[in-house]
């Protein structure tokens, strides 16, 4: 339950990771002692031929390079920039009403907006000849516990609608789709409905209380073919409203992505709050701003969606643009029972494969059977584990099967 809205925009130092899960090579463009401005390119990272920049999120001096844990739990080099609190910004070009497809693509790649929503089925914002569908999610589908921030939708409905339109322009798509909840507040729905008039945007109304992978099913009915693990292969760009808002700001106002909304939840924290935070801030500083952790012996720290996020063993990491929610909760042991073969996981699987049978084959080391069961079509949504009454981590077994057969 979110109780507060807070801002934390002036950290003393920011830490910007040079690599991520995909881009493993980085080319640093600054040296220790250089003065940088907000939005200045400090490094470039490469994923194959795709080059994406790392922008400074504060103005100040580069004080060094440090090896520390990033939000994926891996050790990476970080650029450390000391904030001089002057907030001098590099001017970026702005585009008026008629931004072309090429211009929007250029802004997105120049401002490093490719990786904003990464949990679950969300894709990077990369465009190629295949791109034709744009799907934007305004709620947490398949997400039992993170409550959606509807105030964000209400306040920024115009920007969101415009951002979707820009994204659609960039992807050369016909119609863009926005997924909304049947039971969302009438106010938010109304504002969104007003904003999307006269634009090629269609509302897809689903019931978010039922965890059945409805977004996946909708996209499947859209593309009419087997979905890949990465939806970009199917020509689908699937992202969240926060990313769309950032694109709107970047294209229309020339604002580089330097702040991010992060929701901090869980009983390990004294207050559950939505933070407007500077990218690169250490998470420990946010906890200090909130007070401290509650007095709990064993805790879990979970980043991102509950079904497809990751857990860290250390709170010493910096917020990046892809962090949307952090949960700190008391560790609760759930005992695993034997599989009673109820078949709930087979029923819920949105990809139409059979997790229980794959798990059975994996336990028995039957590689040919794992191939036969189309294990490679798994999209790792986590619903099979969510519905399991015996609390078996079915997804982990399916992952092992995938790894076994390549």
């Amino acid at each position: 339950m979110i109780t507060e809205y807070r801002t934390y925009l002036n950290p003393k130092k920011v830490y910007l990771p040079l690599t991520d899960t995909q881009s493993k090579i980085a080319n640093v463009l600054v040296e220790v002692g250089d003065e940088v401005l907000i939005g200045q390119k400090v490094a470039e990272k490469y994923h194959g031929r795709v080059k994406s920049p790392i922008l400074s999120t504060v103005s100040g001096e580069v004080v060094g390079f440090e090896e520390r844990m990033d939000r994926y739990g891996k050790l990476t080099d970080h650029i450390v920039i000391e904030n001089d609190q002057k907030n001098n910004t590099i001017p970026y070009p702005t585009y008026s009403e008629k931004a072309t497809s090429g211009q929007v693509r250029k802004v997105i790649s120049e401002m490093g907006l490719t990786k904003i929503a990464i949990d679950g089925l969300y894709t990077d914002l990369r465009f190629d000849a295949k791109s034709k569908f744009v799907v934007v999610n305004s709620i947490f589908v398949n997400e039992p516990f993170l409550s959606t921030d509807y105030d964000f939708v209400t306040q920024n409905s115009e920007a969101i609608a415009d951002g979707i339109d820009l994204l659609n322009t960039a992807a050369n798509g016909k119609t863009a789709y926005v997924i909304v909840d049947k039971y969302m507040p009438a106010e938010a729905m109304e504002e969104l409905g007003k904003a999307i008039v006269d634009k090629n945007i269609e509302l897809i109304i689903i019931d978010a209380k039922k965890l059945k992978g409805q977004d996946y099913k909708f996209i499947k009915s859209l593309v009419k073919e087997t979905l890949h693990f990465d939806l970009l292969e199917n020509g689908v760009i699937y992202t969240r409203v926060q990313a769309v808002k950032m694109i709107h700001d970047a294209v229309r106002n020339g604002t580089p992505p330097t702040t991010r909304q992060v929701s901090l939840t869980g009983d390990g924290l004294p207050v559950n709050a939505v933070y407007n935070v500077r990218i690169g801030t250490l998470f420990a500083e946010l906890v200090e701003d909130l007070g401290s952790y509650t007095e709990v012996e064993n805790m879990t720290l979970h980043i991102g969606s509950f079904l497809s996020g990751i857990e860290l063993e250390n709170d010493d990491f910096a917020i990046t643009e892809s962090v949307d929610a952090i949960n700190v909760a008391e560790y609760r042991l759930v005992e695993e029972d034997v599989c009673i073969k109820c078949g709930d996981c087979n029923d819920v699987c949105p990809a139409g494969i059979l997790p229980q049978n794959i798990m059975d084959a994996e336990i028995r080391n039957l590689s040919s059977r794992i191939v036969e069961l189309n294990t490679n079509e798994c999209v790792e949504c986590g619903l099979c584990t969510y519905v399991c009454p015996s609390k078996i981590n079915v997804l982990e077994w399916v992952r092992r099967g995938k790894r076994r057969v390549g």
Binding site: L211, L354, P389
Partner: protein
Amino acid sequence: MKFITKKPPIVMNSQRTYKKLFTLHFALIVVAIGTVVIKALSKVPETATYTSLDLAFKALAMLVLASVFSVVIEIFYALSEKNTQKFESYKGFVDPINTGLLIALLLPSTTPFYVLALAVFVGVYIGKLVFGGYGFYIFNPALVGVLFANISFNAQLALTNTPLELLKRAIGGESITFKTAELFLGNYNEIAIGSTSVILLALIFIYLLVTRVIDFRISGTFLITVLVITFGVGYINFYAPGDFSVVLSYVLVNMITGLTVFGAVFLISESVSSPTTRETKIIYAVVIGVFMMMVRTLGSQTEGLVFAILFGNMITPLINRTVKRSNAKMLVRTVIACVVIVLLVTVALGLIVQSRLPEVAAIVGGAF
């Protein structure tokens, strides 16, 4: 303070296996109490030397003995394995008691206690513990015990004038009338003590469906299959122009007496020994329904459900191995195939009962 990690997804829903077991436990206890009450209220023949309270006490003693003996066997097994941790809370006792109650409910009230004890031993030890306990067995343990008792102690468990037996004689040519109200109230020679209270079983059926302990795709398909086949066989054999009463009483006797409803509620949808995908669940239920009706109409046994479900358990690994994925196309295909099979079986059974199959075969053969 320290951070503990585990692999995502970390959040699970509120369904728990032991909660399902507890719900089933509750339902079984309700049925057991209902059985005892019905026994106490039932009418006994005037020539009999026992009262209805004696019957009720016999039923109660059977239920208690079976559950206690089942628990004792499991505890001895746990002691021999040096793993008694399970029995520290009531959770560990739920499954043994369920099996014991099921075995007692599936045997007639004339069962001697030593037969009951042997049935429980075979069911729990050979049917369940040998395979590794709850979650690992391939045959429904209660049915293994009951089948053992039915085959080995045929004379001790012999029953006369059960409705299904009367029905078989009626097909042979005798004229027998059934009173519908008596059938619903359970006032007849029943094949098992648990199967009499149809109204109670129907309520329990709805309760278990709502709490998602049993699957409508299995139990419902099974009941529909039995309904269609009995209606077809009845229509072919007993239909007089404009008079459906005989057909309806044939359907009623097959549906509400015997183990049909009891099996649909407690036995056929038992999750461990049944298939896991929706297509195979439908196939499984149809196979059991067809097999049961074949035994009932053609076989020497009057009740075929025990054989049918054990046969279904037997083919479960096979049909589990045939599916590769689950999608709408496969579901439609399965449903159409099942409907065709059920209709063909209905016609064939009806004609066989009427001894007209050779005639029909001759006509069909003559066409070529």
